[in-house]
């Protein structure tokens, strides 16, 4: 029983980390920049297809394909940011929602056109398959990898955004554009870079998620609800909040399904509703 509990907690945490890598980019674009980017998972999907193409057509190893997913999603997002998104930074949320959800439809249709509507499986290297046995307990190798990746990403982001000069610039530009501009900061390019960072993280998240949740052209819609829950529960603008929220949601989801399978699938929503009742701004929300 104790063994079961440990394994379930680990699985829940690992699933939470999957949610984290999928949603951390959104806590940058939505959370930091205040841009309601529902196209977030479309960039995740782009990252996923990058990995599929890189591994299948270019024979790239998985670990090398991951940064590629980040870079391509970031570059494509800059093109969109410069041409479309930036016009809506100051527009109302409804406009942002309409534009970005429209883009998800366009992305779904485009990927279906080029790659077909089927699943796109990838074959992981041997060392990421199977499981690691500790005593009588088994832990999935890929889940361990996910946890490590999520911790790395979270650490880098927290340090980068809160303890570097560039991070300070981003926070300044987001908090008060006019003053930041007055102080000589190039707000325009800071926004472009931040948006690219968020979308690149989305691409990386999508790439990491394929192994567990699969990839097809409806990816952009499928996981949108999960990432929005994570960002809402974590609180806008807080990377740490997203991390804690994702971990809690993952653990709730998996333990719930394990102990009370009949209502298990619903628990994640119940958790969100209760938490937002108590703390409408989310766990670490500031505004």
């Amino acid at each position: 029983m104790i063994g079961n509990l440990i394994v379930v907690l680990f699985d829940g945490f690992a699933f939470g980390m999957l949610l984290f890598v999928l949603s951390v980019g959104l806590s940058v674009t939505l959370g930091l920049m205040n841009f309601t980017n529902l196209a977030h998972c479309a960039f995740g999907m782009l990252g996923g297809y990058c990995v599929v193409v890189a591994m299948r057509s270019l024979d790239m190893p998985f670990l090398l394909a991951l940064p590629l997913a980040f870079i391509i999603a970031a570059l494509v997002s800059v093109a969109f940011e410069r041409t479309i998104f930036r016009r809506l930074y100051r527009a109302g949320e409804l406009n942002q929602v309409l534009l970005t959800i429209g883009l998800v439809f366009v992305a779904a249709a485009s990927f279906a056109y080029f790659f077909g509507t089927g699943q796109q499986p990838i074959v992981l290297p041997d060392y990421l398959q199977g499981s690691v046995e500790i005593g009588t307990l088994r832990f999935g190798a890929y889940r361990i990898f996910l946890v490590v990746m999520a911790l790395l990403i979270a650490g880098l982001l927290v340090v980068g955004l809160e303890h570097t000069r560039f991070g300070a610039r981003i926070r300044a530009a987001v908090d008060n554009q006019r003053v930041a501009q007055g102080l000589g900061l190039d707000v325009d390019s800071i926004f472009a870079v931040t948006f690219a960072l968020g979308s690149g993280l989305a691409g990386l998240g999508g790439a990491l998620a394929i192994e567990i949740v699969g990839l097809d052209p409806s990816f952009g819609f499928h996981y949108l609800v999960y990432v929005l829950i994570v960002v809402a529960v974590g609180g806008l603008g807080s990377i740490g909040g997203s991390f804690v929220a994702a971990a809690l949601l993952g653990i709730f989801d998996v333990t719930g399904k394990f102990f009370v399978p009949d209502i298990g699938a619903f628990l994640i929503y119940l958790f969100m509703v209760v938490l937002l009742f108590v703390r409408p701004l989310g766990l670490f929300g500031k505004r």
Binding site: Q119, G214, T255, F258, A265
Partner: protein, 393 residues
């Protein structure tokens, strides 16, 4: 100049006359296809449509001297209201003689009343809930029913000496059907179900359910999961926790080991036993020809059970028209379809004259490595299986 124009006009007129007269002699039979071509089930719809188109490409667009014309409509997913509206539009506006397609049960249920009122043949090319064919006397099915495959599979499993099984199915109509019919067959032959779980229809992570199964430590696990991302997800979760054949027998309906899922699961899929009505690799000249032609027409994409449902549905339409000598009225076509039997890429199939449902072989397959590639190898065949639920009440 004037003369030239006059000749041209005359020529054009004559040509038009000639064309319309041949069309009149033969006439046209319009087939309205109602499918989910966008949204989450777009792949289902696309594969059925490809099957339909391949049949027409191979057999020409004429049957019994009539030109067959397709009108394709998209439901966007499991929307009964949309399917009903599209069926009405097809019958009233497009003057369709036959309605066909139906990737999902709700679509078929939505359109059934239209078929009855308009007295049009309705060919169910996929929707697999048993009750569909009972909703209208004009419905004929060319796909499969879930109880058909799983009741037979349950009996087979118990006959192989498996005593205890744990079932996990997706929590929706087809999943419940699969759970019940497998359990019924299994228990009739002396097996015992030791646990039964339902997972959400779109469940991203199966570790919790698999851990429950592991804790119960059953001799065998039975799985029913819709195609898409989930087969590979549950397969990998089972392997991660060490629930793999031969230590734990894994039984499932065929979706679990579709080619993409096998590719993603890798070696851990070896030994999984599935039951299905269509097997891509079945060694049979007709099937080989079908697969080769399908892959050639669709950029290397292999056919699946959706495709074969569409392909056979089209065969039924062509053959029924031949039998009625081109009479496309619903009553004549349904009468012609009853009792029809033919060789399909999936094997010998027929239409039960009483229930208008399909009778076919259920293949029991095991995942094995053949020439370095994992595939479903047929290890047993249960012949001429009928849906066990029709007339059971």
């Amino acid at each position: 100049m004037l003369k030239k124009t006059a000749t041209a006009l005359g020529l054009g007129f004559g040509l038009a006359l000639a064309m319309s007269s041949t069309a009149l002699a033969g006439g046209t039979v319009k087939v309205g296809l109602i499918l989910p071509l966008s949204g989450q089930f777009a792949d289902t719809g696309a594969q059925i449509e490809r099957g339909v188109k391949l049949y027409m490409q191979e057999h020409g667009d004429e049957a019994a001297g009539k030109k067959i014309e397709l009108v394709v409509k998209d439901t966007g997913g499991p929307n009964p209201d949309v399917a009903k509206r599209l069926a009405q539009e097809l019958v009233v506006r497009d003057k369709a003689d036959i309605i066909a397609g139906f990737g999902l049960t709700p679509e078929a249920l939505g359109a059934a009343s239209v078929a009855t009122e308009a007295k049009k043949l309705m060919v169910d090319m996929n929707a697999a809930t048993s009750v569909v064919t009972e909703k209208s006397p004009y419905i004929v099915r060319t796909s499969m029913t879930i109880p058909q495959v799983n009741y037979a599979f349950g009996k087979w499993a118990a006959e192989q000496g498996i005593k205890h099984a744990y079932t996990i199915v997706a929590d929706y109509g087809p999943g419940h059907d699969a759970e019940k019919s497998f359990a019924k067959g299994f228990e009739e032959k002396g097996g015992k179900i030791v646990g039964a779980d339902h997972s959400p229809v779109a469940n991203p992570d199966f570790s919790a359910y698999v851990q429950r199964i592991k804790a119960a430590n059953p001799e065998a696990v039975y799985i029913f999961i819709p195609g898409g991302a989930q087969p590979a997800a549950i397969g990998k979760a089972l392997a991660e926790k060490g629930l793999t054949p031969p230590d734990t027998k894994i039984l499932a309906q065929g979706e679990l080991t579709l080619p993409e899922a096998l590719q993603s699961m890798g070696q851990t899929a070896k030994g999984i036993i599935t039951a299905f009505h269509y097997t891509l690799e079945r060694d049979d000249p007709l099937n080989k020809k079908f697969v080769a032609a399908y892959e050639k027409a669709n950029n290397g994409r292999a056919p699946d059970f959706f495709s074969v449902g569409g392909y056979d549905g089209m065969h039924l339409i062509y053959a029924a028209l031949e039998k009625t000598k081109g009479d496309a009225s619903g009553d004549a076509l349904v009468a012609a379809a009853k009792g029809m039997s033919w060789e399909s890429p999936r094997g010998p199939i027929s239409i039960d004259p009483e229930t208008r449902d399909i009778v076919q072989n259920v293949y029991i397959r095991e995942v094995k490595e053949v020439d370095g590639k994992l595939q479903n190898v047929i290890i047993d065949t249960i012949k001429d299986v009928k849906d066990p639920l029709h007339g059971a009440k």
